[in-house]
Symmetry: C2
Subunit: 498 residues, 2 copies
Amino acid sequence: MAAKTAITPTREQDFAEWYQEVIKAARMAENSAVRGCMVIMPWGYELWENMKGALDRMFKETGHENAYFPLFIPLSYLEKEAEHVEGFAKECAVVTHHRLEQGPDGGLVPAGELQEPLIVRPTSETIIGETFAKWVQSYRDLPLLINQWANVVRWEMRTRLFLRTAEFLWQEGHTAHETEEEAREETLRMLDVYSTFCHEYMAVPVVAGEKSESERFPGAVATFAIEAMMQDGKALQAGTTHFLGQNFAKAAEIQYQNREGAREYAWTTSWGVSTRLIGALIMTHGDDDGMVMPPRIAPSHVAILPIIRNEEDREKVMEYVESLASELRSQEYDGRAVRVVVDDRDMNAGERSWDWVRKGIPVRVEVGPRDIAENAAFYARRDLPPREKKSMPRAEFVQNIGTVLTEIQDALYERALAFRDASTRRIDSKAEFYEFFQSGGGFAVSHWNGSAEVEEQLKNDLAVTIRAMPDGPDYEEAGTCPFSGEPSRRRVIFAKSY
Amino acid sequence: MAAKTAITPTREQDFAEWYQEVIKAARMAENSAVRGCMVIMPWGYELWENMKGALDRMFKETGHENAYFPLFIPLSYLEKEAEHVEGFAKECAVVTHHRLEQGPDGGLVPAGELQEPLIVRPTSETIIGETFAKWVQSYRDLPLLINQWANVVRWEMRTRLFLRTAEFLWQEGHTAHETEEEAREETLRMLDVYSTFCHEYMAVPVVAGEKSESERFPGAVATFAIEAMMQDGKALQAGTTHFLGQNFAKAAEIQYQNREGAREYAWTTSWGVSTRLIGALIMTHGDDDGMVMPPRIAPSHVAILPIIRNEEDREKVMEYVESLASELRSQEYDGRAVRVVVDDRDMNAGERSWDWVRKGIPVRVEVGPRDIAENAAFYARRDLPPREKKSMPRAEFVQNIGTVLTEIQDALYERALAFRDASTRRIDSKAEFYEFFQSGGGFAVSHWNGSAEVEEQLKNDLAVTIRAMPDGPDYEEAGTCPFSGEPSRRRVIFAKSY
């Protein structure tokens, strides 16, 4: 008999529905009344703040500075790069008026039509490019390494919380360089920063590699991505970096005087990750009891739940709880104080405990009279089954909390990596490839002749695309494309994707 | 003969123009090509990040959590509170379409008209209210204490960097409470948080008090503000908190079951400060040589400028500079590491030094061969005249850096306070009042009979308004309104304002 789970349906029963239910049960986000726009709730937002904090430090350590650019992009700017506008015109929010006035039937209607419509930024290459053109005069102004934390809007028709929403939060790096080589280096450096972040903070293993032409960012010369594997075997693109060549520099006239005194176009890059990463986190670590937060980015590390069976115990229990909380807070984990929440809500203890299971807090501690008598901490780790609880002498528990959190962080990564490895297969025959994706799927590491026709065919037949073309001996070997029979210069990663 | 200044014009020559020039010289922000929208440059944005960080800690310490709500507000939501929509309808960005398509003349034109126009949030009471209506069911869900960091848009016709821009960055707190008393307490608590922040972090003295009815937030029952005095004697409203009564709760149906089991409307508040605070900072501390950054929120604390006269000295100088920088960074100021920047740009030493003067960095250190020979630090404080430099033994300088920064922070506050005190006058006659504002002005602390007609008259005659009605014995005394001759229950603060 299967144990009862906190989330219905389970991952196996209906993965897509399970995903929505985890978000709801953990109170991380919800749909708003505005089509496609989400409300990020405190538990989800604090997670995002921690992710932002870690990424921001990594960006600053690699020499980037933050700045802020306008929300609106004049239509004419967007049109300057032909492929770019083509890529974004079909789904954008267009501002056409700048006030409201009484309409004929008494209600308010848009008034004050703008001479030129404004697009709510879907990404900021064009508007930032205009500014860079002013900031960059000489090679001395390069490299220019800027990052922006912002909201962006893409009018997606079918939306899903965190994965695909009309408005989302992200960061977008925009850099300008003296040489092609430097810009290419930057593109790969930031890809590496993203991989490191996913691995070390999110405990999410990713593969990194270039995208095929058909998956390239509109206007880019080359697009690179990190791809994570979700528990349903699908890939999720968790971040991209783009080498833009001189395309956007030419569109916006980002020119500089080089060391020889001649005018030249700069070489630019852009790169971004978004609240979509939270979707990746949920589908990597979440289980049938709800969310599982990796300690390094968890909003809180420890929930302490006082168990008060008789009112006369209240004072004693709360005293123990508060002093335990403050001892834990004085411990360090990951260079900062351990984050502790005391939950004394007026609810049954079991309910409260399950609430924290569903929220995915790394450690839960229940404190009742017996624990106080024994001067112990009765605790459970979120990476272990929910009923597997353990008692430890209080002082030992406090002293070890950092170690426990580190163990949880590592265990989550190892589990995700093992899952990915088990769901990754080197496939050399078309039949096996089709069979693999018709029965579950995962990452197929297969040869490809480089043609868009093969990509198109696989997309139509199996909804499978090339996710990344990673470097390294596992991929860079000659062989035969199983789909065309033609020679292939390398293996690539195929998968279904979000 | 006047000393040459780094900023032209000086404050005395043309205060408005001086303000723009300081922002430009310090590279804090610039106008973008998008009407009324600014670009916040790295030096300005890092200042904002530090301000955000301090405010965010204060919000969290007072029990608030961050969340994120949609950028767009359906027109019908805005219309639910009659005064509110009236207040914002005249200047808002209206989204009417969700894609672009080829127009008859080949260019792109808006397409996909929305059934209901969306307003880019000018403030979020209505959209957050809709969400609160779902989150609040029982008195157990109260108080609900939420803050949002976001961008907002108000289509201002005349814009000025930081002070009045179409798009700006801000935080907006939104809370719901069980009782009127609790909501009123929250309104005053956050007013106090804002005052404390301005005083302790920005070194800007403010007066806090309720606004008169004519200056109330659209839809509020009572609005409170903190007002700072700029160096031209004008007031700048630096933050507001609003007691909204049950107005927005009724508009959005925020109802809860009270302790007796009956349904009741919640009592709500909202409060916000924005990038406008940066304008207040510039006009409080800036001088004729540029920006002056208070150490607690300065992007960097110390600029070290290597002086390399001969290439053969370079290595020795840079070694000294780097080790001095790392010693300074290992010192603590305000609970964090001292922030040090080494500026070895290929520019003349004087130019580099003046660049940091204009940017307002608290401490500049010049390092040349003589300083190395003496193992000394030759430094200047931004709060003292730019040519007043001092040499100090290196170890002593490093050890004292925190004290020096504290002294600068305190000196800036004391200077601003002295200026405000000198420009504040208790005035009891109409003639003196008119004379005061016709010749410079400042804060006039005068009686007022409470009538809107008097306010209207003073606004028309002198462009003077009531900035705040502070509590306390200096204000709460009976007297005679000098404008109407009628009895008055209290003094209020009158001033010209931004």
